[in-house]
């Protein structure tokens, strides 16, 4: 057996070493599971984690998948720092897509340069308003934001289904649950012509760095951190908890909305019932893996984006279900949470119980 001995300080080494240890452990556990399923473990792990990077357009696909994860991970890291548990980003992402998509559908023939910014702003507004419902329910009625934000995520999905099967359904779409395609203007410009590299892949790291600066260097960032680490001290210092709940929900919801609108305009070009492969939930892992630090969110977002590509690669090349993406993500979060014990504690191995003094 072992026991934990408090270090008495926060180990800087392990706060960055733990994600790496977790990744190695995850690869080992995933390999063991693959072996158990009768698959060659090394080849499968290679196919899952490495091969997508060398596939044609692998890096472009990685960037496109990482953009929403980074945008949402940054928002979540601010909220979680303040102990505001927004876990309904999937719903805020959906509302961003609905508002942004709605704006794009409302302006099918407009060609002004202002259309795309308007679409983006609509998306941010949608995600933000949806998140503010949660802030309102928590500050006015003391309702637990974990449960309300998650319930709202289910409701958002049904709203999307209603819209694309009902009033917004494309009359020329042969009855498929989808809207008309957005105009090229509303889809926005491309980083490289004739690819689907939308500007979300630029916005995501820029916003991450901006958030890193806000969190580390501004008084707002300081208040967030104090509220998360020492709520009593924050109250004595006169920081308004309610104000920080509103602000952190607005930011995390707005960024989720931005992620949603970039996704539907940038890569899909229309609304369907399946606009997200669970980005909102994966972003929670991104936030933790990135140490709730916006600078750490970028590599974390890239890694989790890779697990989506890996799932597709395993499906295409090895004929496996792409559900292994979810398993890998779950194991990664388990390993990370377990490895994080090393940040605050030393592990002391004991011999058998009889040897105890």
């Amino acid at each position: 057996m072992f026991s934990l001995q408090p270090r008495g300080y926060v180990s800087q080494f392990w706060s960055w070493g733990s994600p790496i240890l977790a990744l190695l452990l995850t690869a080992a556990i995933a390999g063991a599971i693959f072996a158990f399923m009768g698959r060659p473990p090394l080849l499968t792990v290679y196919t899952f984690l490495i091969s997508p990077l060398f596939a044609p357009e692998g890096l472009a696909n990685l960037a496109i998948k990482a953009a929403p994860l980074i945008l949402m991970g940054v928002g979540l890291s601010l909220a979680y720092k303040a102990n505001v548990w927004n876990i309904g980003t999937e719903g805020q992402f959906t509302l961003g897509a609905i508002f942004g998509g709605g704006a794009a559908l409302a302006l099918p023939d407009a060609t002004s340069w202002a259309v795309f910014p308007a679409v983006l702003i609509a998306g941010i507004t949608g995600g933000m308003l949806y998140a503010l419902i949660v802030a309102w329910l928590r500050t006015a009625f003391n309702a637990n934001e974990i449960l309300t934000s998650l319930m709202l995520a289910y409701i958002a999905q049904y709203l999307l289904i209603y819209l694309v099967t009902g009033p917004w359904r494309d009359p020329m779409g042969f009855g498929y649950p989808q809207t008309a395609m957005f105009s090229d203007t509303a889809d926005g410009p491309r980083v490289i012509e004739a690819t689907n590299l939308h500007f979300g892949i630029i916005a995501a790291p820029v916003i991450a760095i901006l958030a890193w600066w806000i969190l580390g260097k501004t008084s707002f960032g300081f208040q967030l951190r104090v509220l998360g680490q020492a709520p009593r001290a924050a109250r004595f210092a006169g920081f308004s908890e309610n104000r920080l709940v509103w602000l952190s929900m607005a930011i995390s919801g707005g960024l989720a909305g931005l992620a949603g609108v970039f996704e539907v305009t940038g890569t899909q070009g229309q609304l369907t019932t399946t606009i997200s492969p669970g980005y909102g939930f994966t972003a929670i892992i991104v936030a933790f893996l990135g140490r709730l630090n916006p600078a750490g969110i970028i590599p974390a977002g890239l890694l989790l984006a890779l697990t989506y590509l890996g799932g597709d690669a395993a499906q295409i090349n090895l004929g496996m279900s792409n559900a292994i993406t979810g398993i890998f993500q779950g194991i990664l979060l388990f390993c990370l949470l377990g490895a994080d014990v090393l940040i605050l504690y030393r592990i002391k191995w004991r011999k058998s119980a009889g040897a105890r003094a």
Partner: protein, 306 residues
């Protein structure tokens, strides 16, 4: 009359998975552990139960497998949060993310096939009483088991010495530790019980309620069960009322869709989730009442001093 009877019987069935999972979570939260992974454990129970029922044809084995699957996942939760002191909120979410992925992978081969389903019992004489027989004596065994387990938990927590210790650990773990009670061990046991109940609740979905396997078939019921514990303010009797209320919402949203009313079905499908939010808001408004009943150490880590 038949409509009313059918309605009552269907609401009972719809409330049972919620009741099973919430009873387990109630015990977990009574010792002040917050396991947000109910949804994931239910999914694991649902696929484990369904797969074993399909492969062996044995329902007792299937239920055991579901219980075991739920417990396995909850053991992982207990190890991470109680032994390694990981954040309970994050670990609970990890359970749900993992449970979703794992059940989808294992379940890929079980979509669209059938397995034996839980039979409805038939008690001679009693079940044949008109109306009353149908309302009281016509269910599958798990419905009765769910009610019995709730009664047992209510009795155990309020009337036994062990229950008193559990409540003490929930309200003052340091004091309980000083008195010599094994805080961590008792929390492990409670978490495992919660996992077993969630696994059983999942099996009820795939072997009695739906009954088949579909990806993500729990559809948020694990989260509703968590809301239910808050709704009940950690009191078993109110858990039953809440389970019926939420079960009724879930069933009615399906039932009304079947009537062909001119309301988009997506709206009706969203009703149980909207209802959950509304109920949570109504309940949470009275923060004094919540604080009065809430285990004081809920979600806080405990570590014995060296």
């Amino acid at each position: 009359m038949d409509i009313v009877i059918n309605l009552l019987v269907s609401v009972m069935a719809a409330s049972t998975p919620l009741l099973l999972a919430a009873t387990g979570e109630l015990v977990v939260e009574k010792v002040a552990v917050l396991n947000l992974g109910v949804e994931g454990m239910m999914l694991m129970g649902a696929i484990a139960g369904f797969a074993v029922a399909h492969e062996t044809g044995s329902l007792p084995l299937a239920l055991l497998a579901a219980i075991f699957a739920g417990m396995a996942l909850s053991l992982l939760f207990a190890f991470l949060t109680l032994t390694l002191q990981a954040n309970q909120t994050a670990t609970g979410l990890a359970l749900t993310i993992f449970g979703r992925g794992f059940s989808a992978l294992v379940g890929a081969g079980y979509v669209g096939i059938s397995a034996p389903t839980l039979p409805h019992i038939h008690i001679p004489v009693l079940s044949d009483i008109p109306v009353l027989g149908q309302i009281l004596f016509s269910y599958d065994p798990l419905i009765y088991l769910a009610l019995a387990l709730l009664a047992f938990v209510a009795w155990f927590l309020s009337k036994t010495h062990a229950g008193l210790i559990m409540r003490a650990i929930g309200d003052q773990h340091d004091a309980a530790h000083v008195l010599g009670y094994k805080v961590i061990r008792i929390r492990y046991l409670a978490v495992l019980f919660g996992g077993a109940m969630a696994g059983l609740a999942g099996a009820y979905m795939s072997l009695a309620y739906t009954p088949l396997w579909a990806q993500d078939m729990i559809a948020g019921r694990g989260w509703v069960a968590l809301a239910l514990v808050t709704f009940a303010a950690w009191r078993p009797f109110w858990l039953l009322i809440g389970a019926w209320l939420f079960g009724a919402m879930m069933y009615l949203s399906l039932y009304v869709q079947g009537l062909g009313v001119p309301v988009p079905s997506a709206f009706l499908s969203a009703v149980p989730y909207i209802g959950t939010v509304v109920v949570l808001v109504l309940i949470s408004r009275d923060s004094r009442r919540i604080r009065l009943h809430r285990p004081a150490m809920l979600g806080r880590a405990f570590q014995a001093g060296n």
